[in-house]
Amino acid sequence: MTKANASVLLFHEVGLHARPSVKLTKVAKGFGARIELATNADGPWIDAKSIVRVMAAKAPKDTVLHFRAEGGDAEAAVAALVRLVESDFAEVEEGA
């Protein structure tokens, strides 16, 4: 099992609100790996594929988001999520 993790600064104007959360969970669901997200390096860790959980994190602007993934495509998954946050949730290409 491949494991991967990374951290990225959330600078989106309104924080991790509805539209960015929808995009984030969509990207996460494109991967087979189990992917988790935390707003603190020590957790609590939440399922990055669940919009209910991601929204409940209520991460404001300037939060550092931590990702960790486990599974065959874990590295690609974490890289894609970091790219998404770094691009300020720009339109994600199909199949990304």
């Binding site: 609100h17 959360s21 929808v22 969970t25 399922d47 669940s50 919009i51 209910v52 209520k58």
Partner: protein
């Protein structure tokens, strides 16, 4: 039909959220969360309940996916995608299915789960999160309606339907196949809601804040969203008068719409600035800045709406809102009015309680100077925003020169503090609203960079006719000779001193008043966005020679 025809002939007053006319019959908007749904269906076995819920979830998902597919409005689509993502998330539905296995009914279990989620959002101290609670209410109502077998009917409204109800969720607006001739009248609702923006974009006339719409389904009605009225059970003469207003309105719209985005000038070639009045950044959604020459009035009360006590908006929150408006204006001047609370706009813990005559009480700048800490936060946010575009700071309810002097001293102090902190404010102008007759008659005594006539309050104070009293509404006439003379005086005195002057009350967007305001010497008028096309048409039709104010 018999119950409907027994309705008395009466006129209800509301506020125009989207202009236009509709003549037809009342259709009641009733899909209140949970209303009657639980009673309509007996609770079955756990398996039956699970199957019913699955079917309802699938149907609701299909509704939302279908709605999203048919949209060209990115804002609205994003909102529905959020609902769809929530609906398809096992984290939301798993606990519900678990409750069904325990013997609970599908409606009760689903409603309880959604209510818990909604409560979490409503408890947030972030406006944005609180607003998502409404999206989940909308989602809950949709699934419950499918469980009750009641959904889908709203998609096909009669051609002459005037939809009435308490409030209308954006997703319900979007699932209706709107056609010209239909209309909306809501008991609640707001001018800045998403539905109001959608209705304006689709050209569906809509009123909000209509008290007493209890007329039953099928009642004949005339919706005049220019006058802001819903006429129930009209007679033949009412219909004839309505038809005349409607056809005149159509002719004007056809001519005006074509030129709404061109700068305005009178028939004799004098340019006139057309500015927007807005109640917050939300009013600008979907608007093309080419519609206007700038923003003539931002009512900052929106930031304080529903707040009070210790929960007043902070400097950063205000700064972001002001900066967003400057960014939209894209280099056009933006006039932001400092907090104009008091009068009919109370803020708990900020305004004074129990004034016998609040319109003549502690309001506007009087209150700002009495609550200096709150005022200074707003001034700092404004001074910071000034770095992001041409900003004009406007002070409301000024009566005497000492008030402007006190404001200037506070502004100087905050500007110096910002400069000392290494972030000097950008260039800005500091001006005053002219709405108290005392200020209107002594403009030469005041220090200000610009003035703007607040005609609503000026008329109320000049004519001694309260804005809150329908009984004296006829006296509150913008074309009364006393009002026009005072406006002419202000325009002349401002011009003599080289001060820019505009007008930002309701009269500014009123085609009937515009020729007189121009004749009185005004060359800048500020109004709601919906009024712009007709106001520009009225400006273009005006010959300045030959009109006496």
């Amino acid at each position: 039909m018999t119950a409907a025809s027994a309705q008395p002939n009466r006129v209800l007053q509301g506020r125009t959220a989207a202009p236009g006319f509709a003549a037809g019959r009342i259709v009641r908007l009733e899909r209140e969360p949970g209303s009657g749904a639980a009673a309509a269906r007996a609770v079955g076995t756990p398996d039956e309940e699970a199957a019913a819920l699955k079917a309802a979830l699938a149907a609701a998902s299909a509704d939302l996916a279908g709605l999203i597919g048919g949209l060209d409005d990115a804002e609205a689509a994003a909102m529905l995608e959020f609902q769809l993502a929530m609906l398809e998330d096992d984290a939301l539905t798993e606990p519900v299915f678990a409750a069904l296995a325990e013997g609970l009914g599908a409606e009760a279990a689903f409603a309880a789960q959604l209510d818990a989620e909604i409560a979490g959002y409503r408890a947030s101290d972030d406006d944005y999160f609180r607003a998502r609670g409404s999206d989940l209410e909308d989602l809950k109502a949709r699934v419950l309606a499918h469980l009750a077998g009641a959904a889908g009917a709203a998609g096909a409204l009669a051609d002459d339907a005037i939809l009435v109800g308490r409030d209308l969720a954006p997703s319900r607006f979007l699932e209706i196949d709107w056609r010209p001739g239909q209309g909306i009248a809501l008991a609640e609702g707001s001018l800045t809601s998403h539905v109001a923006i959608l209705a304006r974009a689709r050209g569906i006339p809509m009123l909000v804040g209509v008290a007493g719409i209890d007329a039953p389904e099928g009642t004949e009605a005339l919706l005049d969203a220019e006058a802001g009225t819903l006429h129930l059970a009209p007679d033949a003469a009412d219909r004839a008068a309505f038809d005349i207003r409607r056809s005149a309105g159509r002719d004007r719209d056809r001519a005006a719409g074509a030129q709404a985005f061109e700068p305005a000038a009178t028939a004799c070639g004098t340019p006139v600035q057309v500015l927007l009045n807005i109640g917050g950044p939300g009013d600008l959604a979907g608007l093309d800045p080419a519609l206007c020459d700038g923003i003539g009035l931002v009512r900052t009360e929106f930031l304080f709406h529903g707040r009070g006590g210790d929960d007043l908006p902070g400097e950063d929150e205000q700064f972001e809102a002001y900066r967003a408006i400057l960014a939209w204006a894209d280099g056009r001047p933006v006039t932001i009015r400092t907090l104009d609370a008091g009068g009919d706009k109370p803020i708990p813990g900020y305004t004074l309680d129990g004034e016998a005559n609040p319109f003549l009480g502690l309001r506007g700048v009087r209150l700002s100077l009495a609550r200096e800490a709150v005022f200074r936060i707003q001034l700092r946010a404004l001074l910071r925003a000034a770095a992001h575009g041409p900003l004009k700071i406007m002070i409301p309810m000024v009566a005497v020169p000492a008030e402007m002097a006190a404001v200037q001293a506070l502004v100087d102090r905050e500007a110096a503090a910002l400069a000392a902190a290494g972030t000097p404010p950008g260039r800005f102008e500091l001006g005053m609203m002219v709405e108290v007759p005392a200020a209107a008659l002594t403009l030469d005594l005041f220090a200000a960079d610009f003035v703007s006539i607040g005609s609503n309050d000026l008329i109320q104070y000049l004519m001694a006719a309260g804005r809150d009293s329908a009984a004296v509404a006829a006296l509150a006439d913008p074309l009364a000779p006393a009002v026009l003379r005072v406006i002419e005086t202000v325009a002349r005195d401002a011009a003599a001193r080289g001060l820019p002057v505009s007008l930002c009350g309701d009269a500014g967007g009123d085609p009937a008043a515009i020729p007189h305001l121009l004749a009185a010497g005004l060359r800048a008028l500020s109004m709601g966005a919906a009024a712009v096309p007709r106001a520009k048409a009225a400006i273009r039709a005006t010959h300045l020679t030959g009109i006496r104010p």
